[in-house]
């Protein structure tokens, strides 16, 4: 079984955020580094944390939220520990990417209408061209690229991903 500790310990999380703010300071210019550090810690920017940051740094909440949604590097939705990106660009699409996506969805038990498992173990994203069209359909798991992926590969990729938990 994989362990999913992160969000279940909100108070320890606050301690972390407080530490981060202490490290970067409360100048307005510190906002982006602070958000980066928080995102690094939780893999997304929880609303309570943004509100907390706004308070601690004396910046309006709307502005903090604006910054958090402006940069593509930030996410305000929870993301899983592992990120699986399946390319659905033109090349991958014609070579059956949508079936691969369905298969991942099923095998990873991602609920309908969501992209992340409830236990925040894994997030499945579709991206619009990874620039690996020669390898279509292409999949990236936690930064590692797999090419010419078929149904059997999906199962294998998932096993590899789970094994990495024990390292």
């Amino acid at each position: 079984m994989h362990k999913t500790k992160t969000v279940q310990e909100p108070l320890r999380n606050f301690a972390k955020v407080k530490e981060i703010i202490e490290k970067y300071g409360t100048e307005r210019s510190a906002l982006i580094p602070v958000l980066q550090a928080i995102q690094g810690e939780f893999r997304y920017l929880p609303q309570e944390m943004l509100s907390f940051v706004a308070t601690a740094m004396g910046i309006p909440q709307a502005e903090v939220f604006g910054v958090a949604t402006f940069y593509a590097q930030f996410s305000t939705q929870p993301k899983g520990k592992h990120i699986v990106q399946v390319c659905d660009g033109t090349a991958c699409h014609v070579r059956g990417a949508s079936d691969i996506i369905k298969k991942f969805k099923k095998d990873l038990q991602i609920p309908e209408g969501k992209t992340t498992t409830d236990d925040l173990y894994v997030t499945l994203e579709t991206v619009s061209c990874l620039g690996a069209c020669a390898l279509a359909p292409a999949v990236v798991v936690d930064g590692k690229v797999y090419g010419n992926v078929n149904f059997e590969d999906v199962a294998r990729i998932i096993v590899t991903m789970k094994e990495s938990d024990d390292e």
Binding site: P10, L11, K18, T55, Q61, A62, V64, F65, T69, F70
Partner: protein, 672 residues
């Protein structure tokens, strides 16, 4: 000094170097360039591209963001400019809910006006976003994101002028939007309902919540006795809606119009402003004698009151406990007049006409009621009254003025100047000086507190005692002043606060343009009325004297406290957030300790208290018996850091030094 020139449309124009931008130079020549995002009172954003001019090389540049320089040559209305401008408008309209015929802003909408002027007849583009929900959560304003053109005017207004920062841009590219924090309904964030964002929004994206329907209904209900009050600032602004001179007094025409609509009684809120003066100045004098709770802050502005409730828990006891004139009026009518006239509470319908959107919110506050009926049943703004007048087909221009009903139609000049920044302070001085010195006050004009500057200060020596006053308007200015007061850099005895720049005359419910130029004229209008009034001091208003004789006895009596005073409570800045310790949520035999990490408590060190409690729990080996939660604002800010224990209703205030004591006395016994 040599003269400097630039060329506009092949014409030489002299420039002084003091012009803020090319736009100003061109406008000074009498040429109009359209703008969405440029306002002289806000910072320059330069995003809407409406204000483009063409330079020598044929480039289009935003005239609002360009400084004039000697030798520059620009053209203002070339074909290229016109075509581009029309295309931008088309793009904006493609993403715009084009229900102009039913839109509140119709007739006052800059987008509509420009589209007509530029001859946009057809929109060639398809909308790029799905339509979004309209936010009707607020008692005062309505936000329709489908009409937003992303000019950012409201964002800058709310943060630069009001210092609240409710609205902000989110996302980017095609998904960019202007929303309250976390895309929450606006009633759930720190909005104070001032309506300044509505005043400045060029389209129907932000509008005043329409309450005219309620009023029409009451007017047509034969059982209802409809009592209308008209606030001071309305009379000097409503004329603008009918192209009359700004600042002239249209009170009596407004009365005539309301009577035509079927109102049973029409009175003047200045009368209850007189009552407020007497109550508030008496309260002030008592505080001066006792030397406590000073400075006294005024409490007649509901935008400011909400701001204080959300941001200044430490100052709430300094706020005057007096209700605002609107609510005093409501209370007098529901609690006194109705009984006197034998009108059952449920049949009396009080309508107020206000320059202010926050008054709508104030009227709905649960404490402002009698026998579970709101003291003020409906609040309409100046622009809503104008709309009703037009709807009824009344020719305002030709209307014969009508007089107010008696006895509450009589008021002093002091009650009238309430509508402008400095007016409340001056009215209170006219009372306080006379009481303190025991002599009749002959010079009633306190010019030191007049004018539309954001902050005015004055010291008056009254009978050997120095009384220090500050008069502030605009919440960003207020915020700065409060910071200084907190740091003890300044100290006052009396502080008048109005959320809107210039006071009520610049309220969010006033006609647009609501700029410094119009405010100056409106303010002058009120002082003119005061100058002409026969009675200038609230205490000399015979109706007020009578009210005390028949009902209230003396200022600040128990009767007065019951009817005319109120209390304040800390309010959450943001709704619907709680951080739960999910893993342990089901183990409900545990004692739940919720520690507030909301703004105020955070600043007072709630975080350290929480840390220490967790440490203590560990030390005592009871970690698994208690569950710690962080919550946002327990609405107990002045006693914070606040802690709630399980379902115990009491909210504890636990200072850092008291943590151990709290743990021993409150937590430990419950575990055992």
């Amino acid at each position: 000094m040599t003269h400097q020139y630039m060329e506009v449309n092949n014409k030489k124009v002299e420039i002084t170097g003091n012009e803020k931008n090319i736009l100003e130079v061109v406008r000074n020549m009498g040429i109009e360039i359209p703008t969405f995002c440029y306002h002289s009172e806000l910072s320059v954003y330069g995003a809407c591209r409406m204000c483009m001019v063409e330079d020598e090389r044929g480039n289009l540049v935003a005239s609002c963001s360009l400084k004039p320089q000697a030798g520059m040559k620009i053209k203002t209305h070339t074909k290229k400019i016109m075509d581009t401008r029309r295309m931008i408008l088309e793009l904006l309209l493609a993403n715009h809910h084009q229900d102009c015929t039913t839109c509140e802003k119709s007739g006052n909408c800059k987008l509509q006006e420009l589209a007509v002027n530029m001859g946009v007849k057809k929109v060639r583009f398809k909308p790029r976003k799905p339509w979004q929900d309209i936010d009707t959560s607020s008692a005062s304003i309505v936000r329709d994101p489908n009409k937003c053109i992303l000019c950012g005017d409201c964002v800058r207004m709310c943060s630069e002028v009001q210092g609240v920062g409710v609205l902000g841009f989110i996302n980017r590219g095609p998904n960019i939007n202007v929303v309250p924090a976390f895309d929450k309904p606006i009633a759930d964030v720190d909005c104070v309902n001032c309506g300044q964002c509505v005043s400045i929004c060029p389209t129907g994206a932000l509008t005043i919540k329409d309450d005219t329907l309620k009023v029409w209904e009451a007017l047509s209900d034969p059982k209802k006795k409809v009592v209308v009050q008209i606030a001071p600032a309305v009379r000097v602004a409503i004329g603008e809606e009918f192209n009359h001179t700004e600042g002239s007094n249209y009170l009596y025409k407004s009365v005539a119009a309301l009577k035509m609509m079927g109102a049973d009684y029409v009175f003047d809120t200045s009368f209850s402003a007189d009552l407020t003066v007497v109550e508030e100045a008496t309260e002030f004098l008592n505080r001066v004698v006792k030397g406590e709770k000073l400075p006294q802050f005024t409490s007649c502005c509901p935008g400011w009151v909400t701001y204080a409730e959300k941001n200044c828990p430490d100052l709430l006891s300094n706020l005057s406990s007096c209700k605002s004139p609107q609510q005093m009026f409501g209370a007098v009518f529901k609690k006194f007049f109705a009984k006197k006239m034998n009108i059952p509470t449920e049949d009396m319908y009080v309508v107020s006409v206000m320059p202010c959107t926050a008054k709508k919110f104030e009227a709905e506050r649960p404490e402002m009621s009698t026998d579970s009926y709101q003291d003020v049943d409906a609040v309409i703004t100046t622009v809503e009254l104008a709309r009703m007048i037009r709807k009824m087909g009344i020719k305002f221009e030709e209307l014969e003025p009508a007089s107010l009903d008696m006895p509450f139609g009589f008021s002093s000049g002091a009650g009238v100047i309430f509508g402008t920044s400095g007016g409340v302070a001056e009215a209170a001085l006219r009372y306080a000086v006379e009481k303190l010195s025991g002599e009749t006050l002959n010079e009633v004009n306190f010019r030191e507190v007049r004018g539309l500057e954001g902050l005015k200060e004055a010291t008056f020596n009254i009978h050997g005692k120095d009384i220090k006053l500050a008069v502030v308007s605009g919440l960003a200015n207020t915020q700065q002043l409060i910071e200084k007061i907190r740091k003890k850099e300044v100290s006052y005895d009396f502080v008048e606060v109005m959320a809107c720049p210039g006071g009520c005359i610049g309220g969010g419910g006033q006609p647009v343009p609501n700029t410094s130029e119009t405010r100056v004229l409106r303010s002058k209008g009120l002082y003119d009325i005061d100058a002409k009034s026969t009675v200038k001091k609230a205490q000399n208003n015979p109706t007020i004297e009578k009210l005390y004789d028949e009902w209230l006895k003396t200022p600040n009596s128990d009767e007065a406290h019951y009817a005319l005073h109120t209390h304040y409570g800390h309010k959450k800045r943001i709704g619907g957030m709680e951080i739960k310790d999910e893993a342990k949520e089901n183990a409900n035999e545990k004692i739940v300790i919720s520690v507030c990490v909301g703004t105020n408590c955070y600043l007072k060190g709630s975080y350290d208290v929480l840390q220490e409690l967790i440490g203590l729990a560990r030390e005592h080996g009871i970690e698994d018996k208690v569950e710690f939660k962080g919550t946002f604002c327990l609405e107990n800010c002045s006693n914070g850091p606040s802690i709630k224990v399980s379902d115990d209703l009491h909210k504890y205030g636990v200072q850092k030094e008291e943590t151990q004591k709290f743990f021993n006395n409150v937590v430990l016994p419950r575990v055992k």
